[in-house]
Amino acid sequence: MQAFGDLLRKLVRSRESGVLAFLLLAFAVAAVLAPRFYSLQNLRNLLLDTPLVVTVGMGMTAVIVCRQIDLSVGSIVAVSGMVVGELYRAHPGLPTPVAMAAGVAVGVLLGMGNALLVTYLKVPSIITTLGTMSIYRGLAFVIGHGNQINPNDLPARLVSLSITSPIGVPFLALFALLIFVATHIFLSRSRWGRAVYATGGNPDAARLSGLSTNGIIAGSFITCGALAGLAGIMYASRFGFVNPAQTGTGFELQVIAATVIGGTQVTGGSGTAVGTLLGCILLAAIVNILTVAHLSGRWQLAAYGAIILVAIVADSAGRRQRVTVAA
C-alpha cells in the first residue's frame, strides 16, 4: 500500500500529470457536450489527425530540449511532399519504401542546412529557421514550378497507408507510435539522450565536461528535419495532394504548441517524449471536440491560443509548487 501511495504521489508530481489531467477533462467534457465524440468513426479520425504532429513533435522536443527552436518544419513538410510527389509523377511504379527514403533524405538535407547555420555560423536558431522557413517554402514552389501534386499523381497504395494495415490500425498511426517509442527510449534511456538534456540545461558545463554540444545541437536539427521529411510523405498519404502554398503552413505552430503544452520548456534542459505525445493528443482532441460539438472551425485558433496560455501558466504554477515541496 505504501509503495502504491509513493507511486501515486510521484505520478501526481510528475511534469506530465498536468497535461494528462487536462486530457481527461477534455474527454469528460466531450462525453457531456458531444457524445458523438466517442463514435468509432470519430475516434478513428482522431487517430489520423495526430500522427503528423506526433512525428515532427518528437524531433521538435529534442530541438527545444537543446534550447533551440525550429520554425522551418512546416516548410520542410512541403518540400518533402513536393519532391515525393514529383518522383511519383515521373515514376508511378516507385516502391513506397523508396519514396519514404526520398522524403526523409530531403528532410535530412534541409535539417543539415539549419544545423550548419546554427552550429558553424553561430546564427541564433530563431533567426536561422525564420529565414529557412521562407527559403524552404520558396523551394517547394520551385520544385513543382508552382503547381500542386494532384490526387491522381499519387498511387493508391500510398493513400492506403492512412486507411489500413495488417492489424487494422492505419500504418500512419503505427509509424508515429514507433517514432514515439524510439524517441522515448533515446531521450530517457540512452547516453546520447542524457547529452541532449545536458546541452540544453547548461551548454557551458556540458561543453566543459567534454560533450560535443555543437554535434548534439546539429544532430537534433537533422533529426527534426528528417522527421519533418517523413511527415511530408505522410501528409501526401493522409490528404491525397500536396500544395506548395498550403501544405504545412502553420504546422510549425501546431508542433511547437503541442511540445510546449506537453511541458517542454523553451529555456531548454527539460521535456519528455511522453509529455509531447499527450500534448499532441490534447490539441487534436480539442479541435475534434469543437468540430463534433458543431462549434464552427472559427473557434479552433482561439482554442489553440487559450490552451497554450493555460498550459504554460499551469506548468509554471506547478513548477513553483514542486520547488516548494523539494525545499
Partner: protein, 321 residues
C-alpha cells in the same frame, strides 16, 4: 575592431545593399525611376515599419513579441464589428480597439514578468488567441464601406509626401530620441544588456518590460486601424505572417536577438532595404514566394557573414543563443 565600429559598418553595409537593390530594380523595371510611384509604394510598408520600431525595444530587452500581427487583426476586427454590427460611432469603436490592443500587450508583459514565462511561448499563445478571437468575431466575412473621412489614409498627402510615410519618419525620430536621449531609453538599454546589473542599480526591470510589451501591443492596434483604412476592409486574416517581416527588419537592422544592442536607424535602413527589394521584385513580376526566399536569405546572411568574417580574423563568433 571595436563594437561601435562594427555597428557603423553594419549600417554602411545596409546602405550599400539598398543601393545595389535600387540599381537592380531600376534595371528590371523603368517604373522604379518614377518618384511618384515610389512615394506611393512606401505606404505599403508603414505598418511593418511602425511595428518594427516598437519591436526594436522588445528585442533590445532580449524578449520577442510574436503576437503583433494578430493584435493588429483583432483591433481591426473588433473596431469594425462594433461599428458595423453594433452601430457604434467609428471613432469610439476605434478607441475601444486601441484599448484592447494595449490590454493584450499588457497581458503579454505581465505573463512574462510576473510568472517569469519566456516571451517566446507567451506570445506564441497570444498570437493564436488574438487572431482566433478576430476570427470568432467576424468569421470569414470582410467589413467594408467605411465613411470617407476614415478610408484611404494612404492617399492623404502633405506636399508630395504621403502623410502616413511622414508619420513613420516622425515616429522613427521620436523612437531614436527616446532610446538614445532619455533616461528611460538608457534604462531600457541597461536592462537589455544585463538584467541583473540593471536591477541591482535600482532600475525597475519589470516595469520597463511591461511597458515595452504594452507599447508593442498598442502600436500593433494602431497599425490595425491604419491598415483597415488603407485597404478599406477589416478581416480576421489581415497581415497574417507579418510578424516575420517585422522581426526581420529589426534583426537585419543590427539589433541583437539576445538583447542589449539596438539601433533605430538600423531598423529603418533594413525596412527600406526590404521595401526596395519587395517593390522592385513585385514590379518585375517575381512571385511573392521568391520574394520571401530573397528576404529569408538576406536575414540569415546578415548574421552569418559578419560571423564568418570575424572567425576568419581569428575572433570568436558571437555564440548562438
Amino acid at each position: 575592431m571595436k563594437l561601435k565600429g562594427i555597428r557603423w559598418s553594419h549600417q554602411f553595409t545596409l546602405l550599400l545593399l539598398i543601393a545595389v537593390a535600387f540599381l537592380v530594380s531600376v534595371h528590371m523595371s523603368r517604373h522604379f525611376l518614377d518618384p511618384a510611384y515610389l512615394l506611393t509604394a512606401t505606404t505599403n510598408f508603414v505598418e511593418t515599419g511602425l511595428m518594427a520600431l516598437a519591436m526594436t525595444f522588445v528585442i533590445l530587452l532580449g524578449e520577442i513579441d510574436l503576437s503583433v500581427a494578430s493584435n493588429l487583426a483583432l483591433t481591426a476586427a473588433l473596431s469594425g464589428v462594433l461599428w458595423a454590427h453594433f452601430g457604434w460611432p467609428l471613432p469610439v469603436a476605434c478607441m475601444v480597439g486601441l484599448v484592447v490592443s494595449a490590454v493584450a500587450g499588457l497581458a503579454n508583459g505581465l505573463l512574462v514578468t510576473r510568472l517569469k514565462l519566456p516571451s517566446l511561448t507567451v506570445t506564441l499563445g497570444s498570437m493564436a488567441l488574438l487572431r482566433g478571437a478576430a476570427q470568432v468575431l467576424i468569421g470569414n466575412q470582410s467589413i467594408t464601406g467605411f465613411p470617407d473621412w476614415f478610408a484611404g489614409v494612404d492617399q492623404r498627402v502633405v506636399g508630395p509626401f504621403p502623410a502616413i510615410t511622414l508619420l513613420l519618419l516622425v515616429a522613427a525620430v521620436a523612437w531614436w530620441a527616446v532610446l538614445t536621449r532619455t533616461i528611460r531609453g538608457r534604462m531600457t538599454q541597461a536592462t537589455g544588456a544585463n538584467r541583473a546589473a540593471a536591477r541591482l542599480s535600482g532600475i525597475s526591470v519589470e516595469a520597463i518590460t511591461v511597458r515595452v510589451f504594452m507599447v508593442s501591443g498598442l502600436m500593433a492596434g494602431f497599425c490595425g486601424l491604419i491598415m483597415m483604412s488603407r485597404v478599406g476592409a477589416a478581416r480576421w486574416d489581415m497581415a497574417q505572417g507579418r510578424e516575420l517581416d517585422v522581426i526581420t527588419a529589426v534583426v537585419l537592422g543590427g539589433t541583437d536577438i539576445a538583447g542589449g544592442e539596438a539601433s533605430i536607424p538600423g531598423t529603418m535602413l533594413a525596412l527600406i532595404l526590404i521595401a526596395v527589394m519587395r517593390t522592385g521584385m513585385g514590379l518585375a513580376e517575381i512571385n511573392p514566394e521568391t520574394q520571401h526566399v530573397a528576404v529569408g536569405i538576406l536575414l540569415a546572411a546578415s548574421i552569418a557573414i559578419p560571423n564568418l568574417l570575424r572567425m576568419r580574423n581569428g575572433q570568436k563568433a558571437q555564440p548562438a543563443k
